[in-house]
């Protein structure tokens, strides 16, 4: 079995564990390349079905191409798709740097969603290589009632016998892509011919490497107009993936504050 298939089979195993034991469950689909690749694997995992809702935490600030892609895929793949409108920026903690407030809005939206629909499991397409805090995550990561991540006292994770029991009111963040890298996702997207938001491909010398809200995400200089070219570019680059995301540069600890309080 080749390397990409091995990653894929591990992801499928995790998804099936979660689906068997964690109910009700939903996935946050950001419409980006990672969660779309994960959605693709869910369809394979459940033999053509997507047996739980796909939720977008919507700030109404995504780029228009993202909404267009979302509506097309939701229809074509017959998804139980739900857009969850996030609370407005005016309700956010004013001490947060401006570029981090969209993330804070999503965190608040997620909290409201979990409280209202009593989800016990939230599936997320985060990866360990994205960000050094994410490198410390568990595959099944428990969250307290208030959504707080107790990173100082994470439970042990023995092999792939995952923690799936937890008290009423708490929930699990489930991370089936934790062991993938950015390059793995692109190689897999290419191999499987997974559709992507066209903004990832260069037009007139610019492309998006990571997709966030339109006011806080900037494209990078690139000539990569196909996935093959993106892969070639990433094999050479030494620029971090989220360089185009303003929030990551706000201050040393803003990502940490967001994440500990329940951000994805």
């Amino acid at each position: 079995m080749d390397y990409l298939s091995r990653l894929e089979h591990e992801t499928v195993f995790i998804l099936r564990e979660a689906f068997a034991r964690v109910k009700p469950m939903a996935m946050l689909w950001s419409i980006g390349k990672d969660s779309t690749a994960l959605l693709w694997m869910i369809r394979k995992c459940f033999f053509g079905h997507v047996p739980f809702p796909m939720i977008q935490l919507d700030t109404e600030m995504e780029l228009p191409e993202v909404y267009e892609f979302r509506d097309h895929i939701a229809k074509e793949w017959d998804l139980d798709f739900r857009a969850e409108l996030c609370p407005p920026e005016s309700e956010m903690d004013p001490t947060l740097p401006p570029a981090s407030r969209a993330a804070a809005r999503k965190t608040a939206g997620l909290k409201a969603l979990i409280e209202r629909d009593n989800y016990r499991g939230i599936v997320l397409g985060i990866r360990r290589d994205e960000q050094s805090m994410r490198a410390k995550e568990r595959v099944f990561s428990p969250r307290a009632r208030d959504g707080v991540w107790d990173f100082r006292n994470q439970p042990p994770e023995f092999w792939d016998i995952y923690k799936m029991d937890l008290p009423e009111g708490c929930h699990l963040r489930i991370h089936p892509l934790l062991h993938w890298t950015e390059l793995d996702i692109w190689r897999y997207t290419l191999r499987e011919r997974i559709p992507i938001v066209p903004l990832y491909l260069a037009r007139d010398g610019w492309r998006y490497r990571s997709l966030g809200e339109k006011n806080i995400t900037t494209p990078i200089r690139s000539e990569a107009s196909s996935i093959e070219e993106i892969i070639a570019e990433l094999e050479q680059t030494r620029t971090p993936e989220r360089a185009g995301r303003t929030m990551d540069h706000d201050s040393e600890d803003s990502f940490e504050r967001l994440r500990a309080s329940g951000y994805m």
Binding site: R16, H49, K136, R152, W159, R238
Partner: protein
């Protein structure tokens, strides 16, 4: 389409005494291999300056502000290194606090270990402890880096001495290091190029040793094991979903599902996508299997080939890593998970303890946090198991206390007999005769499906009354029915059985098998037995697969006792009947019965009506 090149990856866990330079080494390796993003070194410099210290490589690994401020690493981190023909994933398990938990979480599946030893200090307790833990976790490939050689006088002699020390120590528990490399993480000696400081050392460099390590391959040469995760019925297909943890199989192979020994052939491998359909499955794959017969299969079952099934047992020894806050003593009952199954386990005895601090084995009655203990466990149901050193799935278990994961370990089967019952093995040699009348033809003739309607409940709950009156109602409506109860079985088929625990269990097993035959003949058979134990009812269910319906005939003990039609409760209370269910023996109420009939809440007519309606619904064609 041009196939993109892909890279493999090696998982390498880094261990060593706390100040021997692990983090500096990892930071430096990231830098030397060009794996750090642009701007990272500047960021490190900025963060270091802010705290008034020289460039601190370990900040690459410390993600949290709290970690950087307090110079403690809180949890296991994964770091990707771009190395040679494949990537290396460095797993950094911080050493000074919660090392056991950190090593286990993620690092337990590493392909190899890198042990860092300070050239000035030599092998310290922590070095010993970490090396020993690598071994216990089954990590047999180890590279040793003797660090800080830039600070040592008379280096060659000192290195030779340390190398001999480390080799001798590792050999003591069966590890032969792949290489012992003199390095300086701070100065970069012998990391990616040989250093002028060590003209007497001819290689390899540390990075070269990484490429000589082997990535663990899926165990496709071992006997077939498929752990069942779920059975999917999203559409007309009934797909058994699971992971092939070892071995391989193909369409047409006969599978046996442990622990109930149900047997069926692989009719089809359901592909994950239609571009890649295959007739074969092998180790490492997450698969979907369609069977040729509708046998009862559930999460927790393990499929094997017929000739080479896993050992079955409800007792075994466990080499336990204990992480519970509460000490563990003999007699404790905890939830046990192994593969995808779950059961209760009781600690029968604590045989020995290993103190991770001193590495001493000692006798003891109490296992405390971070101890390694050898314990004897018994489980409430029989499990497919394997020795922890042979099988990375069936040989491992995790213990939970309530919601908390409190420990885990490897199974040791030395001296444990296989409890697989001989009939199942014998059955393996019985060739099935193909009948010329099949079940669906019988069902067409009868006008309804066959089924087992299994009534369970306390004595006096109303099982027999309900069974005979429901049968009468259905019979009059033209349905083919039969009632099995104590009277028509105890005197004949089961006349050799008494009332010991084993005999009672065998009694229920035979009733389950007989009921299954009746159902296969197209009849609706109602059984009326207390059948107090879930495991006996589960076994009866597995005999009849999807045509089994567990009906909980519910009434409180008080109500049953006040009815006491046969005077049994009075005699049990007087001690004349021993082990009477509800009085002196337990009744395990069904956890997920298909139907509950509450005979306290409704009168007999209503109960009969409800049960008959249920049967009409599930047995209609």
């Amino acid at each position: 389409m041009k196939q993109s090149s892909y890279r493999d990856q090696l998982k390498l866990v880094v261990a060593g005494h706390v100040d021997h330079g692990k983090s500096t080494l990892i930071g430096r390796l990231l830098h030397e291999t060009g794996s750090l993003p642009d701007g990272k070194v500047e960021e490190l410099r900025r963060i270091s300056e802010k705290r008034g210290m020289p460039l601190e490589w370990s900040f690459v690994l410390d993600a949290f502000q709290a970690e950087r401020d307090q110079a403690i690493t809180i949890d296991t981190t994964w770091i990707w290194l771009r190395t040679g023909h494949r990537d290396t994933v460095i797993i950094d398990a911080p050493g000074h606090r919660e090392f056991l938990k950190n090593m286990i979480s993620g690092a337990a599946n590493a392909d190899a270990g890198l042990l860092v030893v300070d050239a000035l200090e030599g092998v310290k307790e922590q070095t010993r402890r970490h090396a020993y833990l690598l071994k216990l976790l089954g990590i047999n490939q180890v590279v040793v880096a003797i660090n800080k050689i830039d600070l040592v006088d008379n280096l060659e002699a000192k290195f030779r001495e340390l190398e001999a020390d480390v080799r001798a120590y590792l050999k003591g528990f069966g590890i032969e290091p792949t290489a012992v490399v003199p390095i300086s993480a701070r100065e970069g000696d012998n990391l990616t190029a040989l250093s002028a400081r060590t003209p007497w050392y001819s290689g390899p460099t540390l990075l070269e040793t990484f490429s000589s390590l082997n990535v663990e391959a899926p165990a496709s040469e071992r006997p077939l094991r498929i752990v069942v995760q779920d059975v999917y019925k999203f559409d007309e297909r009934r797909i058994v979903a699971g992971k092939v943890t070892s071995g391989s199989a193909q369409v047409g192979d006969t599978l046996m599902f442990s622990p109930h020994d149900r047997i069926a052939k692989i009719a089809r491998i359901e592909p994950l996508d239609h571009l890649n359909s295959s007739d074969r499955i092998s180790a490492g794959e997450s698969v979907g299997i369609v069977l040729d017969e509708q046998i009862f299969v559930e999460r927790g079952n393990v499929a094997s080939h017929f000739a080479n099934p896993p050992v079955l047992s409800n007792v075994f020894r466990g080499k336990l890593f204990w992480l519970g806050d509460k000490p563990l003593r003999a007699g404790a009952t905890l939830k046990l998970r192994a593969g995808t199954l779950e059961t209760q386990a009781t600690v029968r005895a604590i045989e020995s303890l290993l103190d991770l601090e001193s590495l001493e084995h000692r006798r003891g009655n109490v296992v405390t946090r971070n101890d390694l203990a050898t314990v004897r466990l018994s489980t409430s149901s029989i499990l497919p198991v394997a020795d922890g050193h042979d099988d990375k799935v069936l040989g491992r278990f995790v213990l939970l206390d309530g919601f908390d994961t409190v420990g885990g370990g490897l199974i040791d089967l030395k001296g444990i007999p296989d409890q697989r019952s001989n009939p199942a093995i014998k059955a393996a040699n019985i060739k099935k005769v193909d009948l010329l009348v099949n079940r669906s033809e019988r069902e067409i003739r009868h006008g309804h499906k066959g089924a087992v309607i299994w009534l369970t409940g306390l004595s006096g709950a109303g099982k027999s009354t309900l069974a005979v009156r429901t049968e009468r109602a259905l019979f009059e409506a033209g349905w083919q029915t039969y009632v099995l109860d104590g009277d028509n079985l105890r005197h004949g088929l089961n006349s050799d059985l008494g009332f010991s625990a084993d005999d009672r269990s065998e009694n229920i097993r035979r009733i389950g098998e007989v009921a299954s035959l009746f159902a296969s003949a197209g009849l609706i058979v109602l059984t009326a037995f207390i059948s107090p134990y879930q495991r006996d009812r589960s076994r009866a269910r597995s005999a009849s697969a999807d045509s089994f319906h567990e009906i909980y005939v519910k009434a409180s003990l008080e109500a049953c006792e006040s009815r006491d039609a046969k005077g049994l409760y009075r005699r049990a209370r007087a001690g004349e009947i021993k082990e009477f269910t509800g009085v002196s023996a337990p009744y395990e109420a069904p956890q997920a019965p298909e139907l509950v009939i509450d005979t306290e809440q409704a009168d007999v007519e209503r109960c009969v009506h409800d049960l008959a309606e249920y049967i009409r619904k599930v047995c209609s064609r």
